[in-house]
Point group: C2
Chain length 128, copies 2
């Protein structure tokens, strides 16, 4: 396989992104737990709605990136964009962080889905 | 349901633990990605070997804790204990962290499995 072909294969792969709020001042263990929750929830949603992509993503090694947003408003903006595009996405709420019923939204998981679709939604966000 | 009965139900639940090395000086985004990888990998292993527990854990809300160990030796010690006990466990290696073939082991996921079994292996470790 030539270099250009390899690049095309790479860019046509699947990935998952986990988008985390930075304003909640969660510690790294808390972030890890919330991100794991988001990753598994979004995977299960993908498995339900698009099992071929979910299976292929596992075979490809479960590529994932962890990105950041500044707050809740931004989190829901990107979450809604993913919803509108029909990409599997699951938002995570943590009851322990707040007295508000239902808990604070801490992060969401998007995909696995084709990398180019994921990038259309969260491609401009920075790595956490 | 009385308080004692509630406590018994709670303690008889299922959980997953993710055990992370602190000596690799990974940033919080890196830790989150590795932990998500461990969580999903261990879940898939549990689903394969013990689907009833895996399903029940999802229904219970995917309870998980993120714990820490000081280095690779300790990581493999607890990993082997879980293996010996027959608890679903998956170690995660990250090729990007090292030049060594196969990559550095960064963390492992253990469970979902009954909380008391998880605690027998990693119950004395501290939260990350």
């Amino acid at each position: 396989m030539g270099i250009l072909e390899k690049m095309r294969v790479k860019s046509s792969g699947l990935k998952q992104a986990i988008v985390v709020r930075t304003d909640l001042e969660m510690g790294k263990g808390k972030i890890a737990a919330q991100a794991a929750h988001a990753s598994l929830s979004a995977y299960l949603e993908a498995e339900r709605t698009n099992p071929q992509d979910a299976e292929k993503w596992l075979e490809e090694g479960m590529k994932k990136v962890v990105l950041k947003v500044a707050g809740e408003k931004e989190l829901f903006l990107y979450f809604q964009q993913a919803k509108d595009m029909g990409i599997p996405v699951e938002i995570i709420r943590d009851a322990g962080l707040t007295q508000i019923e239902g808990g604070s939204a801490t992060c969401f998981g998007i995909g696995p889905a084709p990398s180019e679709d994921i990038d259309k939604v969260v491609g401009k966000l920075k790595l956490l």
